[in-house]
């Protein structure tokens, strides 16, 4: 499906500006559970969709914000390419715009890069009712400030993402997942040892009992690395990394208990916080199911040099994201003012002050 709704969206933003009416930008709603409680008039953007340009030989795809990830990844797959940051869908209709606005990345993140690392350019609709283009469709571009990457992970608070250009990568020839029985502390140590060696590692996980390592690349090099590292080969690896982990279908993620995402320097030993843990990203991303209060969790994360996000469940009217320093918050407010002076877009979705 391909539809250019720029004019209509522009008209509606201008009307919202005239009425000083806050709006809640919605793609498919697959990631509505993230961030602080949405407020404002629903502002659907999913209809603005379609792939505009795909150049496999130049590793670039450009699509409108409402294009589904499914359509994009399907198109790339036909040419043996993929989105290397493995964006989580969290729902069948997940859109490109929503995924980039949330800035989430999947299991390959520490090895291949984050969503923002693959963003090359954007066309955005600002709170002043202007459509602006930043970046482009080329790999290297240092003309002007890198506004497209600033928009990535800004949860729509700085603008509506009309078009996004991404770098794409080839699908590796071979993938193989090895499993070893390990404690959390052993797993963290091993993940970091492996990451310091030239191995074709592209994902790691510890689910409480077992350590999983995904190797991707040329056939010979995956085979050689597997023989050095050892462990059982996982038969349904696609299901494990995609459905269980990226899409959080694993039993660990089920139930009502609040889910915290704790980002740490990757080699940090297990934190002494009561709850169930699942470790990803070579130790850099750790999931915690717990009823502990936010301050205790945040203190522990901060002491270890990291930060903690209330990812799912819990009180979504308080501080969901790790608070930033007053000086940094002031910069955030200044930037919000620069792009959305009337405070129309997704107010309070990241921090109450934005």
């Amino acid at each position: 499906m391909s539809q250019d709704r720029t004019t209509e969206l522009l008209g509606r933003v201008r009307a919202a500006a005239a009425a000083r009416m806050p709006i809640n930008i919605q793609g498919s709603g697959s990631k509505a559970f993230l961030g602080r409680d949405p407020v404002g008039e629903p502002f659907p953007v999913g209809g603005h969709s379609g792939i505009l340009n795909y150049q496999p030989k130049e590793l670039v795809v450009t699509a409108r914000g409402g294009t589904t990830l499914e359509e994009i990844e399907g198109t790339l797959a036909k040419e043996g390419q993929m989105l290397a940051f493995e964006p989580p869908y969290f729902g069948p209709g997940a859109t490109l715009g929503g995924s980039i606005a949330c800035g989430l990345s999947g299991p390959a993140r520490p090895y291949a890069g984050a969503a923002r690392d693959f963003v090359l350019g954007m066309r955005v609709l600002t709170g002043k009712g202007e459509t602006l283009r930043f970046g482009g469709e080329v790999m290297k571009n240092v003309a002007g400030y890198d506004v497209s990457r600033l928009m990535t992970g800004a949860f729509g608070t700085l603008g509506v993402l009309l078009e996004v250009s991404l770098k794409v990568m080839p699908v590796p020839a071979v993938e193989r997942t090895l499993v070893q029985e390990r404690s959390a502390a052993e797993a963290i140590a091993l993940m970091n040892q492996w990451a310091g060696r030239p191995l074709p590692a592209t994902a790691t996980c510890h689910d409480g009992d077992r350590l999983y390592l995904r190797l991707s690349g040329a056939e010979t090099s995956v085979r050689q690395a597997a023989s050095v590292i050892g462990g059982e080969t996982l038969s349904n690896q696609g299901d494990f990394w995609r459905t269980k982990l990226r899409e959080q279908g694993h039993g660990f993620f089920q139930g009502k208990k609040p889910l915290w995402r704790i980002a740490l320097p990757s080699a940090t030993p297990p934190l002494d916080l009561l709850g169930k843990w699942l470790i990803e990203w070579g130790g850099a991303q750790r999931w915690l199911r717990t009823d502990l209060e936010a301050p205790a969790i945040r203190r522990a994360a901060e002491t270890a040099g990291g930060h903690a996000t209330l990812f799912r469940g819990g009180d979504r009217s308080g501080q969901v994201f790790h608070p930033v320093s007053p000086a940094l918050l002031q910069l955030h407010r200044n930037l919000k003012q620069a792009f959305d002076p009337l405070g129309l877009f997704n107010p309070g979705r990241i921090y109450p002050e934005l």
Partner: protein
């Protein structure tokens, strides 16, 4: 060498002399004497950066040693409305560190300590004046390195790399500075210290790190940088392929990438660049070729063997007249030496050369090279092309003689036309050298007035008084409307 004359008042202008004396009095309260350069002969070495066609003596040069000193310098300048131009090694190619007659140059050269190498988390914490290559040297004992490798990596500093979002020949696979920096400590113009990013991934809030990297010293002064380190690949191997036609070489690049191979480096040189480089370093390049490609693959031993075999087949299939795999490490380094020495090599065959830095969607390479050749004939100035083919970053080198009256001006005009051509085919006026002072007019071609206004608002969010590196990077709306009204402007105006 002749040069573009500064428009500002001279160093001995009475107003500036008085201002300098007053500022020095204030600075001496907290800076030791050896951190203040105020004599004309002392500040002369700072009059330009790597773009030596532009020169300007600054009001003063300051060489602080500590973050607190930088903080106090900024506070004082903020209070007194004195512009500040931060400077690393001065290797930049777009005049980003060009001084202002009424501003201070803040050199970070003495911030040259590596603070911490963390081999387990694979990060390095360094001061901004540490040289790019020194990071890899310090990490080498742990089998790690810092990936971005601009050609100036022996001299350029990590602080300058952050300001320019520097790349290098390996960035198609390993990314630019923005992909390899985890955190910075930044001083705002008012002297406030902020920590942006962290050793943990994906810091909360807006991605200010991405905004800051490549901001050409206009948003803040970086006083500490944390970078990520990667394991040194087990093996790297390079293939050299010769073509009798530039278009075939360009198509071969697409074939390699479409086959699912992301080379660690993929470089192209055209005939004039090949001959200049061969003449200079005797790399063994085929001097009768219209173009050569250097394709390096790295990874595990087996992976490299597998990929090299496929790359060879693809290159032959794409019509290469000759394909050579480096026999050993010595030959590999020789192949690269020719490429890395391409700029100075061109410098040997011409009194002066001017290096451009556009990026284009690669499918337009034949068109851009053809039209560049047309422009080259029109202006009577030879152009040699060096191309980061993997990522579409083109470096046309314009050969000229600055001693011939008006030739530098014509060279700049030709360069501007080439950049506008890059924009017209959907590319950009700068891939890695930055806008600086050099390409400020072409910003008006690439961006609309509303987009430029948005950049100015971003600048104000960090530096409301506009004191950090003013006049660089982003043009004022007035400057653009003047430029747009010039006769004989290329198409593609945004």
């Amino acid at each position: 060498m002749s040069q573009l004359q500064p428009h500002g008042p001279g160093f001995q202008d009475p107003g500036l002399v008085a201002r300098r004396a007053e500022l020095v009095r204030e600075l001496r309260r907290f800076l030791p004497p050896d951190e203040i350069l105020e004599q004309e002969e002392e500040v002369r070495p700072y009059e330009c950066d790597g773009l030596s066609a532009y020169r300007q003596l600054p009001l003063l040069v300051l060489l602080p040693r500590t973050t607190e000193e930088v903080q106090r310098i900024l506070q004082l300048c903020h209070e007194r409305d004195i512009p500040v131009v931060a400077r690393g090694a001065g290797t930049g190619l777009s005049g980003g560190a060009l001084p202002l007659a009424d501003g201070v140059v803040l050199s970070l050269a003495r911030f040259n300590r590596t603070l911490d190498i963390d081999p387990v988390n694979r990060t390095a914490r360094v001061q901004p004046g540490v040289r790019n290559l020194a990071i890899s040297e310090a990490a080498a004992a742990h089998g790690l390195y810092y990936a971005p490798d601009p050609s100036s990596q022996i001299a350029c500093t990590i602080g300058g790399n952050v300001a320019e979002n520097s790349g290098g020949v390996h960035c198609l696979k390993y990314g630019l500075t923005v992909h390899n920096v985890l955190a910075v400590q930044l001083l705002l113009m008012n002297g406030e210290l902020v920590e942006i990013g962290s050793q943990a991934l994906d810091a909360p809030g807006y991605d200010l790190l991405a905004l800051l990297i490549g901001s050409e010293g206009m948003l803040g002064v970086v006083v500490e940088v944390t970078v990520r380190l990667l394991p040194v690949p087990e093996r790297a191997q390079v293939v050299l392929a010769a073509f009798d036609d530039v278009e075939k070489a360009g198509a071969a690049v697409g074939e390699i990438i479409a086959a699912g191979i992301i080379p660690a480096g993929l470089e192209m040189m055209d005939g004039p660049a090949i001959r200049a480089a061969e003449d200079f370093v005797h790399a063994g390049y085929p001097t009768d070729a219209a173009a050569i490609l250097l394709c390096e693959v790295d990874g595990t031993n087996q992976e490299v063997s597998e990929h090299i075999a496929r790359v060879r087949d693809l290159l032959i299939g794409a019509g290469a007249t000759e394909v050579r795999t480096a026999k050993d490490q010595a030959e590999r380094l020789r192949f690269w030496q020719g490429r890395k020495a391409a700029f100075p090599a061109v410098g040997r065959i011409s009194p002066d050369y001017y290096c451009m830095d556009g990026t284009i969607p690669r499918r337009y390479l034949p068109e851009v090279l053809r039209r560049t050749a047309d422009l080259s004939r029109e202006y009577g100035l030879p152009v040699a092309n060096v191309f980061h083919a993997g990522d579409g970053n083109l470096h046309p080198l314009i050969l000229y003689d600055a001693n011939k009256p008006g030739e530098l001006e014509r060279t700049e005009e030709l360069g501007g036309k080439i950049l506008e051509l890059c924009v017209e085919v959907g590319g950009t006026i700068t891939g890695e050298h930055g806008v600086g002072i050099e390409k400020i007019r072409q910003m008006c071609v690439q961006f609309s007035p509303a987009e430029l206004q948005q950049f100015n608002l971003v600048k104000q969010a960090f530096d409301p008084k506009g004191l950090l590196n003013p006049g660089k990077g982003v043009p004022t709306p007035r400057r653009c409307s003047e430029y747009r009204q010039l006769p004989d402007r290329g198409r593609g105006t945004g």
